[in-house]
Subunit: 233 residues, 2 copies
Amino acid sequence: MENLPEHFDSLFSVDCVIFGFDEGELKILLIERNEAPFNGWFALPGYFVEPIEAIETAAQRILFESTGLKGIFMEQFYTFGALGRHPQGRVITVAYYAMIRLIGNKEVAPLPTAHFAKRAVWMSIKDMPELAFDHSRIFRKSFEKIKNKISYQPIAFELLPEKFTLTQLQQLYEVVLNKKLDKRNFRKKMLAYDILKELDEKQKGVSYRAAKLYKFDKRKYAKNFQKELSFTR
Amino acid sequence: MENLPEHFDSLFSVDCVIFGFDEGELKILLIERNEAPFNGWFALPGYFVEPIEAIETAAQRILFESTGLKGIFMEQFYTFGALGRHPQGRVITVAYYAMIRLIGNKEVAPLPTAHFAKRAVWMSIKDMPELAFDHSRIFRKSFEKIKNKISYQPIAFELLPEKFTLTQLQQLYEVVLNKKLDKRNFRKKMLAYDILKELDEKQKGVSYRAAKLYKFDKRKYAKNFQKELSFTR
DNA sequence: AATATAAGGTGTATTTTTTACACTAAGCAA
DNA sequence: TTGCTTAGTGTAAAAAATACACCTTATATT
């Protein structure tokens, strides 16, 4: 949410909660504002929707401006329209979450192009500061949603590299669900879903026994799933 | 979604999918338009959000104008903002679903106050015609959401009278999930959740053995539920 | 070459949950 | 009194979830 443009028919904006997973931590992309209001605060990437622009398109545009990436998994999750959520007038924000493959891609999050941003950072959700506007609330809602969603839809794979180990996958579930999972049970259950393809390839560059790599297999998933994933333990 | 007002800063509207349950059927409240565009078509109750009005407030207002009721269970579920969804210009709609206790209350749905509506009707979801604008799509999305939600949150009770029988409750689950459930298993599971209060009272006015009445017990629910309901069979 | 280190990988027994399934009881109406 | 209609109930089998510990493998260190 930013300063209001000079002319507008509609005070909509889109804000994006962009998740990444790296070093065993769930992170989100924040920008540091260098403009009033909330100068110096961290905020979610977001901007006004153009008068002739679908919301979905605006969300993709903001994601591209923040990360340089296109074709990213993205989902609308809630619309915030309380009075007083923006100090300069009534603004309605449609919020999206998105998921980026960060592992082996630390350079994602270039200097943001938006004029009101000093820099962009990947912030671990453990270290989240209070955010500008009502963005802390937006973040919390997004986190609830993905926590729920990861338990029955294969969104975890959007955060992992194409080839990943079962340990990486488990760590991701653990950090999202905020709960320790049993290694043997996790693997048994995940493999039983029969949605992964085991590769003839191993992890590289580790100083211990290398783990097998797996891919998410969309075709198997489509075949096997009228049922849903379910992860709690 | 209606004709555009003369002046506006923002083209937001709110549309409501208002569910009711009666005669073993799930119904939604539709209005029949008597104005272009879509003159004569059925549509969801909805209207523009005032420039100084929270979205939530607008939703409650529309619900009140459509039903005469206040304090109804209501939840925002999606925002529709494609270009071209409204023939007269770009309109963004925040959609809500709401749930009304219809059983023993057939008079809910007075003549709607909105000028563009000829009449309001409770339409069984089995008989749904194609709706004006993109309202069919909005309805389908709302139905997906409540289907999902009823499986793990106690929203069914919002559609039943305060005192209900287990058979009514089961019928409601069956019609929402679109799936026949086993009577013994349903009762066993529902009672095991320990969220109902069994009353010393029976159904009246039926020409067969009267069933016991139950109430949803919010206090028990709050106590017992960090876990969630789960109904599939 | 031997050893230490760190994560990878695996199976079984127990408990809990889900499922399938059919008859008697109660109340009203004719 | 009989017939009709829905209410109400239990058990056994199958499936899913849980708890739990040790050997293997690759690399790094001495």
